[in-house]
Symmetry: C2
Subunit: 128 residues, 2 copies
Amino acid sequence: MDIHIQFCTEPISRLQPYPPQKEEYGARVEFYGTVRGSELGETIRGLRYEIYHSMAELQIRRIIEELIVHHPCGAISVVHRHGDVLVGENAIYVGITAAHRKEAFEMLSAFMDRLKQDVPIWKAEVLK
Amino acid sequence: MDIHIQFCTEPISRLQPYPPQKEEYGARVEFYGTVRGSELGETIRGLRYEIYHSMAELQIRRIIEELIVHHPCGAISVVHRHGDVLVGENAIYVGITAAHRKEAFEMLSAFMDRLKQDVPIWKAEVLK
């Protein structure tokens, strides 16, 4: 499986080149997690994310390699911002290609659950 | 819920403007169904899709309105090509925004199953 992991401080483009399209992939699913305008009922300006880079990358790779056994996909790309992410901006992008949509959907859902649980990425501060 | 439905003959761009982003949506999921290079083990050039337009639009709207009760989302955009769609090109795009990812993922998966079952869109010919 083709795995692409990236941490960045600049905005995540809606035209992510990853994962690349191939003739055998009939499904491409993409997820953008966006910072919402309020946190715990209060209006906010954004969120500050901190990432323990080397550990986060290792952990993401492990999760993918574990999940791929049950959800065979072709490629996955994970891009996560760190630093200040303003309201309306994307904090995360996940793109998955697979032969069929079922595997891609299941992989995406399972991956996001595990990412939130097991990867050292956290909201360090609420920007008001 | 904001519903956008479109049938087109031109390629589906990866820069679909729909559904629009809003401050209350923390999740955006997008699906592209792409024509694969083989059909029943044989190499193909593409697929010709036919759509019974008025009925398909009505049916898509009905399915969404039914599913939204259990999967509350903000907006959904469905774009489907008809006519000849070559290998590597997208036959369908579905974009969904929601407050949280869970609803968006469930809506996408449920919608695609229902679309395949209940909507008068069919592969009329295999292009060799």
